[in-house]
């Protein structure tokens, strides 16, 4: 299906075009071009919604690396659709907002290139069917997130945050890749659809649990679940549009996507339920408790995102129980949890996106995000205040906003655990709703902090910002207004969303269901005096109470256990790694060439030596040796003597003459061994080399007799002797064996093939002419090197050493 392919590739193509178009559309006008991309894709995707709700899906495959079973296959179903719509929809709004948020002086072209890169990668993650392709896009989102967080790279904090997010998410990604490979080893396929079809095979495999854990680590790092959440608050150093887009609406939800996607594969197992729901709930309460103590509004929102992601995660965990139970009433209860997760996913994107944009406006207009320095802005910025009110109250779970609906569904799902009576311990079924409820109370508190501490109360003196504060320009308000109205719209028409968008996604999570019947619960704002509404009332009452008396109990954050942070652990670990790595490297990178030569030789000896040990028996075959004549033996003897004598040469002239003796003796050996061409070349080259050596000596100082320590001599001597022995033994072994007939016979028809009688010449000039040509090139380069080294002018001011 071409639409899906377009959706992935258009952002990448646009990213490549941005630098060029930026030449014509200068300044912030480039933003309009960028905004057209997600808007176009959003409309394109929206057109497919009706057919998706009929249950059809779109696939497209073309082979990429067929030998490794890697195909570029795309798959669009209901689940992918939710994410694709979020990516393109929120993407359009964020780009619109960023046009007026970023100053003209910023590197706008670079910003949009990264943003489009991210958009393409993220669409690739949710639309890929092949796991390897998914992994590639997954890491690409980490990289583009790194680039966007470090957008203001001159700030130290930005660089720190970017590195942190990169390290954590990419490490998680590698774990995930390992999980994918385990899945491949079980099923021989990388295709998601085929994996889901083979879930009985996977469930029966002994690698089931390791694969599940590895995939979950990938999902948890990306979705900032406890204890991997520490990168998200630091990622807030990115420009606010990026925080709104990547770090609340889309990228951090990739982990949610992965968990939802793999629910059919892994959900039958109780471990999956326990890990996903417990980590989710723990993240939820940890995030919300930490959010309350933040003073930076963006940090507060970051912790709130962590908390909300945990909430969605826990809902998915509860939803997975539908695979374990057989009673239809229970199944309906648990599928409702997944439904609530997907519903809240959309709601969270709307209200959190608008809240981030509000914070961006405050930062933009007043130059601060610190709630201690804000206050009394409601009268100055009434529209911004309304948006903040809608967003926060929705997040707190109050009517008439969409967050209320999903919060009710959340409570219901947590309560359903008890009714289903599936948990081994009843206390756990009580604990889950309790933790969820406490987390919600803290959520309520920080939502109130956002609204009341920055918009109501006294205006602090001196007022932040250089100029008198006023309402943001209307262009900046459009995007948050659209999101805020969505918050309201979804509250009044939740079931339209349920049928058209959430329904098809439910089918993707629960493939065992044939149709939507029983999968999509009717959402009601009011469903009688039941437990969830009492819980909401309780949240409001306790929340208001705690908020009023915040300053009296805020001191508990100073207590020891809460002061201990995972951040410190991360920093210590990183520092330890760096120092240890430096220490280890310094032990062998001595900066001395001789040591490196020694390493090379030692490796050579060890490598070949170990190879020799593996040989079952040493067979030296001397029978085919040619006879030795006296004169030949004499030459060899002379060579051995002169080569050893070089080691003891006191003056360099002796060494050069001995080297010449070696060279000319080899020329004589070449004559004996019927190699006239070699003999001639050797004589010429040896002569020129000797002359060259002597010439150089004219310029160079006499060498010193080596004064080595005994241990050094022994070390070098041993390495040298061992190399010699290894070479000799290997050569002798090779001569004793002949596995293949020689190919040289072919060249003996040289006169017919190449028209020459000298076989060596025809090989060089005809058969291997290209080699010879490149050899000439090597000579030419060496000649150039020699010439330039001799002729290159010395640096000014550097005196000739002899003049000193």
């Amino acid at each position: 299906m071409i639409t899906v392919l377009l959706a992935i590739f258009i952002p990448f193509i646009a990213a490549c075009l941005v630098p060029f178009i930026h030449k014509f559309l200068t300044g912030r006008r480039i933003g309009w071009f960028v905004m057209a991309v997600p808007l176009f894709l959003f409309i394109l995707l929206l057109r497919l919604v009706p057919s998706l709700s009929d249950g059809s899906t779109y696939t497209y495959t073309f082979p990429w690396i067929p030998s490794a079973d890697v195909h570029f296959s795309t798959y669009l179903d209901g689940l992918s659709m939710i994410f694709a719509l979020l990516i393109t929809g929120i993407g359009s709004l964020v780009v619109l907002y960023s046009i007026f948020y970023l100053s003209e002086r910023e590197a706008i072209g670079r910003f949009y290139t990264y943003l489009l890169l991210f958009m393409g990668a993220m669409l690739g993650v949710v639309l890929s069917d092949n796991l390897i392709v998914l992994y590639v896009f997954w890491e690409l989102t980490s990289i583009s997130s790194f680039l966007l967080i470090a957008f203001w790279y001159h700030r130290k904090q930005s660089r720190y945050g970017a590195k942190k997010s990169m390290l954590i998410t990419v490490t998680g990604g590698i774990f995930m890749l390992a999980g994918f490979l385990l899945l491949y080893s079980m099923t021989e396929t990388f295709s998601l659809r085929e994996l889901i079809g083979m879930r009985e095979v996977i469930a029966a495999d002994s690698l089931f649990v390791p694969a599940m854990l590895l995939v979950l680590i990938g999902a948890f790092t990306k979705s900032a679940q406890f204890p991997f959440h520490i990168w998200l608050p630091d990622a807030m150093e990115a420009p606010t549009p990026v925080s709104a887009y990547l770090h609340s609406a889309t990228m951090v939800k990739a982990g949610i996507y992965l968990v939802a996607r793999f629910t059919p594969v892994f959900a039958g197992h109780a471990t999956w339920f326990y890990i996903v729901s417990c980590v989710g709930l723990l993240t939820m309460i940890w995030g919300s408790v930490n959010a309350v103590k933040q003073t930076d509004l963006k940090a507060l929102l970051a912790f709130s995102t962590v908390s909300q992601l945990g909430m969605i995660m826990s809902l998915l965990g509860v939803g997975s129980l539908a695979f374990a139970s057989s009673e239809s009433t229970h199944v309906a209860l648990f599928t409702a949890a997944t439904f609530a997760a997907l519903f809240h996913l959309i709601n969270h994107s709307t209200f959190k996106g608008s809240l981030f944009m509000v914070v961006g406006i405050l930062d933009h207009e007043l130059g601060t995000r610190n709630i201690r320095r804000l206050g009394g802005l409601a009268t100055i910025m009434p529209i911004t205040f309304s948006i903040a009110l809608i967003g926060s109250f929705s997040m707190a779970g109050l009517p008439p906003f969409n967050g209320f609906l999903s919060k009710e569904l959340f409570f219901e799902a947590m309560l359903s655990l008890k009714e289903a009576n599936l948990l081994t311990m009843d206390s756990l079924a009580l604990l889950f709703p309790l933790v969820a409820w406490i987390g919600s109370v803290f959520t309520f508190i920080y939502c109130m902090i956002i609204v009341f501490q920055s918009f109501l109360g006294k205006t602090p003196e001196p007022f932040p910002g250089q100029r008198p504060a006023h309402e943001a320009p209307i262009q900046m308000l459009v995007a948050p207004l659209v999101l805020a109205s969505l918050v309201l719209l979804i509250f009044f028409f939740p079931n339209t969303l349920g049928t058209y968008i959430l329904g098809p996604a439910m089918l993707a999570v629960y493939p065992q269901f044939e149709s939507l019947n029983g999968l999509v619960p009717e959402i009601h704002a009011w469903h009688g005096w039941k437990m969830p509404i009492f819980m909401t009332i309780g949240v409001v009452l306790l929340g208001v109470l705690l908020y009023r008396f915040l300053r009296y109990w805020k001191g508990i954050y100073q207590l020891g256990i809460l002061q201990w942070t995972l951040d410190r652990l991360y920093n210590t670990f990183l520092l330890w790694m760096e120092t240890t790595a430096t220490k280890i490297t310094k032990t062998y990178m001595t900066g001395s060439v001789r040591d490196y030569v020694a390493y090379i030789m030692l490796f050579f000896i060890a490598f070949l030596g170990i190879g020799l040990v593996g040989i079952p028996q040493f067979v030296f075959d001397f029978s085919k040796d040619a006879p030795i004549e006296i004169n030949e033996g004499l030459i060899v003897f002379v060579m051995m003597c002169s080569s050893i004598a070089i080691l003891f040469a006191r003056s360099r002239i002796t060494a050069i003459i001995l080297n010449g003796v070696l060279g000319y003796s080899i020329a004589i050996l070449f004559v004996v061994f019927r190699a006239p061409d070699l003999a001639l070349t050797q004589i010429i080259v040896e002569t020129v080399t000797t002359v060259l050596f002597l010439l150089c000596f004219y310029f160079l100082p006499e060498w010193r007799v080596e004064r080595k320590s005994i241990s050094m001599k022994w070390r070098n001597g041993l390495i040298a002797a061992a190399s010699g022995i290894v070479v000799t033994v290997v050569a002798l072994l090779v001569q004793g064996h002949s596995f293949y007939p020689s190919i040289s016979v072919y060249y003996e028809s040289a006169s017919r093939l190449a028209g020459g009688l000298n076989v060596v010449n025809t090989i060089l000039g005809d058969f291997r002419a290209f080699d010879t040509m490149l050899e000439v090139l090597v000579l030419f380069i060496a000649g150039l090197g020699v010439f330039s080294l001799v002729k290159l002018r010395r640096k000014k001011g550097a005196d000739h050493p002899e003049k000193k």
Binding site: I666, R704, E706, K708, I719, G724, T728, L757
Partner: protein, 110 residues
């Protein structure tokens, strides 16, 4: 004959490596030159020694010496010449620039 030459190759390799491990640049250059001598002989030995006539095609010969190693060695001789020449000029230049003689950094006990 092959065994004898192989032993010679072993000795040359040992000498070459020892020189390569020394501190003085000139010794290192000599080491590379001797190593390439050794490898040329090794290549030739692999093809068999004195097994036939000179590889110049003529009617009288029945069998020829293996020509392939010879072609390889011919290339290698020229390349090793180029390398030696370059290294020599490089060491000359190093001396000119640093003026500190031709010794590499060594251990403390040397």
């Amino acid at each position: 004959m092959e065994t004898l030459i192989t032993l010679l190759v072993g000795v040359l390799v040992a000498v070459g490596v020892y020189l390569l491990l020394s501190k003085e640049m000139l010794r290192m250059i000599l080491g590379t030159a001797i190593l390439s001598h050794a490898i040329h002989l090794l290549l030739l030995t692999m093809g068999g020694l004195k097994k036939g006539d000179v590889p110049l095609l003529q009617e009288s010969a029945a069998e020829y010496t293996d020509a392939l190693p010879q072609a390889l060695i011919l290339t290698a001789i020229v390349i090793s010449f180029a390398v030696t020449a370059f290294l020599l000029v490089l060491s000359y230049r190093v001396y000119q620039e640093s003026g500190r003689g031709l010794e590499l950094r060594g251990q403390k006990d040397e």
